[in-house]
Structures are given as structure tokens and as C-alpha cells.
Amino acid sequence: MRTGWPAASMVAVSLLQVVGVLVGGPLLVGLMRTVRCRLEGRAGPPVRQPLLDLRKLARRERTTSDETSWIFPLAPLVLVGSTVVVAAIAPLLATDPAYGWSADLFAVVFLLLLGSVALALGALDSGTAFGGMGASRAMTIGALSEPALLVVILALSVPAHSSNLPAIVTRSLAHPLWLATPERLLALVAFVIVIVAESGRLPVDNPSTHLELTMIHEAMVLEYSGTDLALIKLGESMRLAVLMALFADLFVPWGVASAPGPIHLVVGLATTVAKVAALGVGLAIFEVTVAKLRLFRVPELLAGAFALSVLAVLSALVVA
């Protein structure tokens, strides 16, 4: 729309991003698991284990409970589909993927929320106690993390005069000093908390628990099996990868290709993969050091994130 990028290369960027997130998401989860195992003194499975799990699950039979409607099989499709759309339009590797002008940060957030809503509805559709429990908890945490998330977006959009993702990234690349301002640092902390809450990691949710008192996400997907479960696992790991890549975009954008050309793209791919991997390792180390919060302590954490995000907006205005 704006730069001189040829249409074909923009589409290529989008495709590369989608494929990258499809493959990179499970690998990221595997990497985080390995780091965790090593820190706990265990050998752990290989990094590519989640991919192997997906291959195994994908061939298995799908079962649904007697009372489900068309929502149940649709939910995994919407979860993966909405994440694929985000991965296609967000500037993860280059500042101008296809239709990047429509990659509005608010729209991205609502697309991810669509996936969460679909999953919660799918959980309730199985008609079991666990489905309802997981959906209730996940939606409560999602609702409470929404204010912090949108106000962080507000803080990040003010200096760029737009909530368009490529515009924010371009502006960050052009004004590197702006990245060290107080509002950025405040927004960064708030955004980390929101990522942890939205992707169901410790200390909000323990992704490896199956204890009914504590599980949130796992309770929602208990009734899914076979190919559907594979899709949900894939969708969840893709969401984690997309959220981390967005975080890298917003706070450490260097390396994202701002000009067309295969070399820039390779550099973009390498730096993004390195940044997301580094973030994943950091989050895994953090996860080892904290215990899971009680469910009713989580709102305090999210309220803290909201307070930080409001401070970020106010300091953005003072600086501007």
C-alpha cells in the first residue's frame, strides 16, 4: 500500500511467516520443555518431541461425546485458523507482509480472543464438569487481562500515531532511543504478564498439570482426542509463538526486514527465530523459579499489570 514492495514478495513473506509459526510453535514448546528439564536435572525429551506428538495424534481417531453439536469440531479449526490469519498479516519477519496495512494491533488482539472464545465454547459443548470448569476459569482470566492488554497497546500506539503494527515497528526502527523510555519499560512488564496469562503459563496456569483443582487450559481440552487434539495443541503452541514474536516486534524490533530482498528476509527470519527462542528460554527459566498462583490471586497480578499499563500511557504523554 505504501512502500515499494512487490506484491509477490509480500505474499511470500506472509507464507513464510505462517509456515514458520506452524513449525516454530511446537519447536518453541519443545525448547521450553527441554530447558525446564535441564534446570530440574532431568534429560527430557528431544526438542522436536511436540512435532512427533502432533504427528502421532493427527493419525488417531477423533471422538466426540454424545451430546456435542457442530461447535465442538469447529472450535479447533477456529483456534488454528485465527492464529494463522494473525501470523499472515502481522509483521513478524518483515515490516510489510501482505495486507500489513490491515494488521491493526486491536484487530490482532480480537482475533486471538476469537480463538479463546471458540475453545471455551468447544469445552462447554462436551457437557462435562471439566469443560465448564476450564472454560469458566479461562474466560475469567481472559476478561481480566483484557484491560491491561488494550491499554498497553494504547501506550505503544501513542508515539506512532497509529495502532497499525507495521507502523509501530517502522517507527521503533527509525527511533531506537524511544525503546528505552520509561513508558516502554512499564509497558514491557505489563505485556509480559499479559502474555503469561493469555498463553496459560506459570504462574497463572500450569500447562503440564492434570490436577482438577488447578488446571485451566487442560480442563478445557480433556474431551478432545486424535486429530482435533493435535489441532488444539498446534493452535496453542502457535499462539505462544505469535505472542512472543509480537513481543519481539514491539520491544526489540531490530532485524525485522524493512526493505524487500531475500537477504533482508533471511536476516529477518534468523533474528526473529533467535529472539523468540531467547524469550522462550527466558520464560522457561522464569517458570522454574516460580510456583503457580492460587486462582484467586491471579486477578491481583492482572490488576498490577493494568496499573503499570496506565502508568505507561501517562508517561508516554508526559514524554510526548
Binding site: 505504501r2 481417531e61 477423533r62 471422538t63 466426540t64 461425546s65 454424545d66 451430546e67 456435542t68 453439536s69 479447533p76 479449526l77 485458523g81 485465527s82 494463522v84 490469519v85 499472515a88 496495512w101 490491515s102 494488521a103 491493526d104 486491536f106 484487530a107 480480537f110 482475533l111 480472543l113 462447554l124 459443548d125 462436551s126 457437557g127 462435562t128 469443560g131 465448564g132 470448569m133 472454560a135 469458566s136 474466560m139 475469567t140 481472559g142 476478561a143 481480566l144 483484557e146 484491560p147 488494550l150 501513542v158 497509529s162 495502532s163 497499525n164 503494527l165 507495521p166 507502523a167 486429530t227 489441532l231 484467586f296 486477578p299 493494568f306 496506565v310 500511557v313 501517562l314 504523554l317
Partner: protein, 668 residues
């Protein structure tokens, strides 16, 4: 031509009311409904014509109302509301054809319902104070009578009617004083004359008129703290009536605030609009919190109306605040976002209320805790409810998303201005908007997930059957519009921009980019709902294809996992109450739920529990802490006052003497 259509609309409306009162029982309902639909159609054509050409429809006659005469001028701003009322009216009336029960087929109701719809079509055209108040009161009284149609069979209806009557008359009194204040100080009661002269009024008059008008219109719109009638009246009113009230009538409260605040008074100081924003944020949060925690389906929808009105007020307030600090283009954007939300709220809330009435009719209950499994039993109605609900939760590719996005954009771009009021108001506004959005998503997951999915929780739900075709059609019209407007907002955005311009009289270029995108002119990036819809469709289809390729055999149906027991009954499912429980705990300080645990022990030992009953209820905090004490106080005052006239003739003669002396002293 539009002026003739205005007369035609009014005449068809009145004649359908007359038919409803006088026609024989066999044809009464069909004929009056057909005529009401015709009135709505004619109203819609008129409104579309006014919106298209910009030429107002004008009707003046001195024959009908004494003194001032009946004066009606429908400009573009009013036409937008007429069009919305007409669309909701058509949906509700088609639905009415198949709707039975709750007393709507009586002669009174058949006469009043068309009259109510007609007033909804005419109120936005009123062009002087008398005409406006006359139509406004007619609307209030007809809607009150329609809420009350079923009072003989259910006692809650009478109580709901009382609450509604008190609140609406309180609001009307505030409106009367506010508008008369403006009329006397400008020396004319025509809206055009007031608008021309109001800028020269003393600040005190303008301020008090604005506050009174906000109170008056706010009580009709369901603004907190004047919302208490909504969660009572909407559940008790018959289905089509609650849809009309929630999707069309509350809009007129927003209409009034904008018409008086921006139109008649021509904007005002920043504190007016900060007040409106504060009330809006309060309404949005309070409404969404209560709708997230209630398990009565219609009460939930009524609270969500308060929540959406709060969002509209946030937009109105932001628009006024921008205008008062000189940001004309942004003020227009915020107003456009508000009006878009009015339009979209009308279609999604209309479809939600209509399909909720269908669900109530199909299952015999409106308690979510007794529903479940309805998407398989009433597929179309269930899908309509789901579409309306997801639109309300601002899910992408449905209409609510577009207006919420635009409101966020207006708030975002207002921020860099150095005005401290804006700097503080906007982040808090966005926070309120975001929390409301999250809570609405939770509400809809609860309402649709508990009500429509899973196993049926009662025999009524298990034996539910799809409702009649016209009920499905009426709700489906509105649900289809949710999707159409969400994918192609350009169908309404230009008209809304024209409407917003006509009321603010701002001569500035269109602040929005047109076509398939929605976005602000001069800002990089836009929203492309059609593109997102297409991308989502392609992505979901591709993933579905991949799943089909990997696993060609269809899913096997089997029993859900019952933790090792061969027993997975509906009693084990989460209910709406349990779904909202974590939220109730998080907001315990605000909601203050009442718990009551009653345990009876076995006679042999206190360590054995024989039976346990747990009861939990959630009252409205405003009702408990403000309205109940006030009504108790009024009751006491009445009892005290009743002691004074005790029937003794001597005492009355003494009163007369004292009064005479007082008058003589004062006059002398």
C-alpha cells in the same frame, strides 16, 4: 415526498392501532401486524430518503396540539434513529406473527403495540418541545402498558411495571424541567430557535438544562444509577416488546442526549462530557459485571443493554470532550463510532432478545441453569442467538467489532493532545471499554455455552422443539444484518457520518476512509473487516481440509469421560451460576453476593450430614443501597403525612384558617 411519507407513516401506524382495537379477533392480530410492518417500511423508506438526499421531512400543523401545534422536522440525524427503529420494528413484528403467550393477543395489547412502534418511528422527528414531550410520554405510557400485559397471571410483572413507571416518570419530569428551562430562556419552544439562541444563554441555565436532560434521557437509556427498571421490566415484558424496548427505545435516550447536548446547546464545557463519560464507564462496567454473573437469560440481556448504553455514553462523552477542546475531526469520529454502535447494538440486541424469547417458549424457562443442549434441538434459533451474542462480544467479522474498534481509535488519537482532562479520561475510558469487552465475551460464552451447548439440564430443555417459521424469520433478519454489517460496514458508515455531521453542524471533510476498509483519514493502517472475514474463511477451510486429509473417518460418538465412573449426567455439568462464580469472587466487594448455607445433621451424630441447601443471590447494589432505603423513607414520610388529615372536620377548618393567615401575611 419525505414529508408525505412522514404523514403516511403516522397514519398507517395509527390505523394499525385502530385495527388492533376494533377488528374481529380472527383477523385482528394479522391485520394489525401487517399494517405495523407497513408503517415501519414506510418509515424506513422515508429515513433512507432523508439520509440519502439530506433534505429534511417537514410537517407542521396547528390542528392537533393546542398552543404550539404539532411540529415535525426529520433531519439526517433523526432519520438514522428512525431507520434503526424501523428495522427492529420489522424484525419484532415478523416475530410477533408466530409469538403466542404472555397476553400479547388481548385487545388492549393489539391496540397498544402498533402505537408503541409508531412512537418509536416518530419521536426522532419531533421539532419542538411540546411535540417531543407528547410523543415521548406516549412512548413511555404505551411501553409501560405493554410491560404490564401479563400482570394478571404473574405478580412479578406488576412490580416490574411499578419500577418502570416510577423511573420513566422521574426521567420525564427531569426532561420536562430541562427542556422548558431552555424554551423559556430562549423565548421559543421550537428546536431550531433554541439551537440558534442557546449559545447566548447564561452558563447556569445551560448547565442545569444539560444535567437535567442527561438525567431524563439517561433513565430511559438505562444509564447507571437510573438503570434499575431495566433488569426488571425487560424479563417480564413479552418477547417482541422487550426486543423493541432494548434495541430501539433505549437508543432514543442516546438520541436525546446528543440532540440536546450537541444540537440544541451546540456543545459545552469539558466537565459536561467528563460527567457523561464517567456515567458511561460506570454503566458499562456495572452492566457487564451484572450480566456476566446473572443466570436469568433475559435479565442478563437487560444488564448487557446497560453495558452497551454505557459504551455509547463513553463515545458521546469522548466526542463532546474532543469538541470542547477543539478537536473537531476526532469529535466527529467518536460520534460516528457511537452512532454505529447504536445501529449495531440494535441489530444484535434485537436478534438476541427475539431468539431468547424463542428459547424461553421452546423450553418453558428463561433460567440458564435449566437449559442446555439447545443448539441440537433448536438449531436455527440457537445459531441466531450465537451470532447475536458473538456480535455483542465484538468478535471479528461481526458488527460489534467495527464500532468498538472505531471507538478505540477515536480515544487513541485523542491522546496526544496536551489537554490534561483528555490525558486522564482516555486511558481510563479504554480500560473500562476493555474490561467491558472481556466481560461481555465471558457473558456470551456463558449464555451460549451453558444455554445452548452440552447436555440438557431439565426435561423442558430435553424436549424443546424449534419455534414457528415467522419467529425464526423475524430473529434471522436481524442476525443476518449482524453478519452483513460486520463484513461490509460501508453499507451504513457513510449514512452514519452524514447523520453525525448534521447534528454537530461541523463543516469538516469526512474523517474516515471509505470503501471496504474502515479507518481514519491521514492515519496509516485501517481495519478491513471484509478482508479479515475472507482470510478467516480461507484459513478455517484449509485447516478443515487438512484435518479431513489426515483423518478421513468422521468422529466417533461415544460417552464423555466420567472420571472412571459410568455416569455422566447433566447434574455434573457446570451451570451458569457456577460459571460466573470465579468472577463473583473476584468482584466480591462490588457485587456482595448473599450466601445462605443450611445444613441439617443426622439424628444419630452431628458428623453425618443429612441434607444441605445452599442458596446464593446477587442483588443490584444501587437497588439495595439507594432505591430501597429511598422507597422505605418515602413510605415513612407518607405514613407520617397520612396522620395529619385524620378525617376530623375541625382540623380541616383549622388548616384553612392557618393557610388564610399565612397568605394574608405573605401578601400583605
Amino acid at each position: 415526498m419525505t414529508s408525505d411519507l412522514l404523514v403516511v407513516t403516522a397514519l398507517i401506524g395509527l390505523s394499525s392501532s385502530a385495527v388492533g382495537a376494533m377488528a374481529p379477533l380472527r383477523i385482528r392480530m394479522h391485520l394489525s401486524v401487517a399494517l405495523t410492518i407497513a408503517a415501519c417500511a414506510s418509515g424506513f423508506v422515508m429515513a433512507a430518503e432523508v439520509l440519502h438526499t439530506g433534505r429534511a421531512a417537514v410537517v407542521h400543523t396547528t390542528a392537533l396540539l393546542p398552543q404550539s401545534g404539532l411540529s415535525m422536522v426529520l433531519d439526517r440525524f433523526g432519520a438514522l434513529f428512525v431507520a434503526v427503529s424501523a428495522v427492529v420494528g420489522i424484525g419484532a413484528m415478523v416475530f410477533r406473527l408466530g409469538y403466542h403467550g404472555q397476553g400479547l393477543s388481548s385487545r388492549t395489547a393489539s391496540c397498544i403495540l402498533p402505537l408503541f412502534v409508531t412512537t418509536l418511528l416518530l419521536v426522532p422527528a419531533a421539532a419542538n418541545v411540546t411535540t417531543f414531550l407528547f410523543l415521548w410520554e406516549l412512548m413511555a405510557v404505551t411501553s409501560l402498558l405493554l410491560v404490564l400485559v401479563d400482570h394478571r397471571r404473574r405478580s412479578e410483572v406488576a412490580s416490574a411495571g411499578q419500577w418502570y413507571a416510577v423511573m420513566t416518570q422521574f426521567g420525564a419530569a427531569a426532561l420536562l424541567v430541562g427542556l422548558v428551562l431552555l424554551a423559556t430562556h430562549t423565548g421559543s419552544q421550537s428546536f431550531a430557535a433554541i439551537a440558534a439562541r442557546s449559545t447566548h444563554l447564561p452558563a447556569g441555565v445551560r448547565d442545569s438544562a444539560f444535567v437535567l436532560v442527561v438525567v431524563g434521557f439517561g433513565s430511559k437509556a438505562g444509564m447507571v444509577p437510573l438503570h434499575v427498571w431495566l433488569p426488571r421490566a425487560h424479563p417480564e415484558a413479552p418477547g417482541p416488546v422487550s426486543a423493541l424496548m432494548s434495541a430501539a427505545m433505549v437508543n432514543l435516550g442516546i438520541y436525546g442526549i446528543v440532540r440536546v447536548g450537541d444540537g440544541l446547546l451546540g456543545g459545552g464545557p469539558a466537565w459536561w462530557w467528563l460527567l457523561v463519560m464517567a456515567l458511561g464507564a460506570l454503566s458499562a462496567l456495572f452492566g457487564s459485571l451484572h450480566s456476566a454473573t446473572s443466570s436469568d437469560l433475559k435479565r442478563l440481556l437487560a444488564y448487557s443493554t446497560t453495558d452497551n448504553v454505557g459504551l455509547m455514553l463513553l463515545g458521546v462523552g469522548a466526542s463532546g470532550l474532543f469538541a470542547s477542546t477543539g478537536h473537531r475531526a476526532l469529535a466527529l469520529v467518536a460520534l460516528v463510532a457511537t452512532l454505529l454502535h447504536v445501529v449495531f447494538h440494535a441489530v444484535f440486541k434485537g436478534s438476541l432478545f427475539l431468539s431468547a424469547s424463542s428459547l424461553q417458549q421452546a423450553t418453558g424457562t428463561r433460567d440458564l441453569d435449566r437449559m442446555g443442549g439447545l443448539l441440537r434441538r433448536v438449531p436455527l434459533t440457537g445459531t441466531i442467538f450465537l451470532v447475536g451474542g458473538l456480535a455483542m462480544a465484538a468478535m471479528p467479522v461481526l458488527c460489534g467489532f467495527v464500532s468498538e474498534w472505531l471507538l478505540l481509535q477515536a480515544m487513541l488519537h485523542g491522546l496526544p493532545s496536551s489537554d490534561p482532562a483528555i490525558a486522564v479520561a482516555m486511558p481510563i475510558g479504554v480500560g473500562a471499554l476493555a474490561l467491558t469487552g472481556g466481560l461481555t465475551a465471558l457473558t456470551i460464552v456463558k449464555a451460549a455455552g451453558i444455554g445452548l451447548l452440552g447436555q440438557p439440564r431439565s426435561t423442558g430443555a430435553a424436549e424443546a422443539h424449534e419455534v414457528g417459521p415467522s419467529m425464526r424469520l423475524g430473529a434471522a433478519i436481524l442476525a443476518t444484518l449482524c453478519l452483513v454489517f460486520g463484513v461490509a460496514p460501508f453499507l451504513v458508515v457513510p449514512s452514519v457520518v452524514d447523520a453525525a455531521r448534521s447534528v454537530t453542524r461541523a463543516r469538516i471533510p469526512d474523517p474516515l476512509v471509505g470503501g471496504w476498509q474502515v479507518g481514519l483519514a491521514g492515519v496509516h493502517g485501517a481495519l478491513a473487516p471484509g478482508l479479515l472475514a475472507l482470510a478467516l474463511l480461507i484459513a478455517v477451510t484449509l485447516v478443515a481440509g487438512a484435518r479431513r486429509m489426515l483423518q478421513p473417518t468422521p468422529a466417533r460418538r461415544t460417552q464423555a469421560w466420567g472420571c472412571g465412573r459410568d455416569l455422566q449426567t447433566a447434574t455434573m455439568e457446570y451451570t451458569a451460576t457456577s460459571f460466573g462464580e470465579p468472577l463473583t469472587r473476584v468482584f466480591e466487594d462490588v457485587l456482595r453476593p448473599a450466601h445462605d448455607l443450611d445444613v441439617s445433621h443426622a439424628a444419630e451424630s452431628r458428623y453425618y450430614v443429612e441434607a444441605a441447601r445452599f442458596h446464593t443471590s446477587l442483588d443490584d447494589a444501587f437497588e439495595r443501597h439507594a432505591y430501597r432505603p429511598a422507597s422505605v423513607g418515602l413510605g415513612r414520610w407518607g405514613a407520617l403525612a397520612r396522620r395529619v388529615p385524620n378525617g376530623s372536620i375541625h382540623r380541616y377548618l383549622a388548616f384553612g384558617l392557618v393557610a388564610l393567615i399565612v397568605v394574608l401575611v405573605v401578601v400583605g
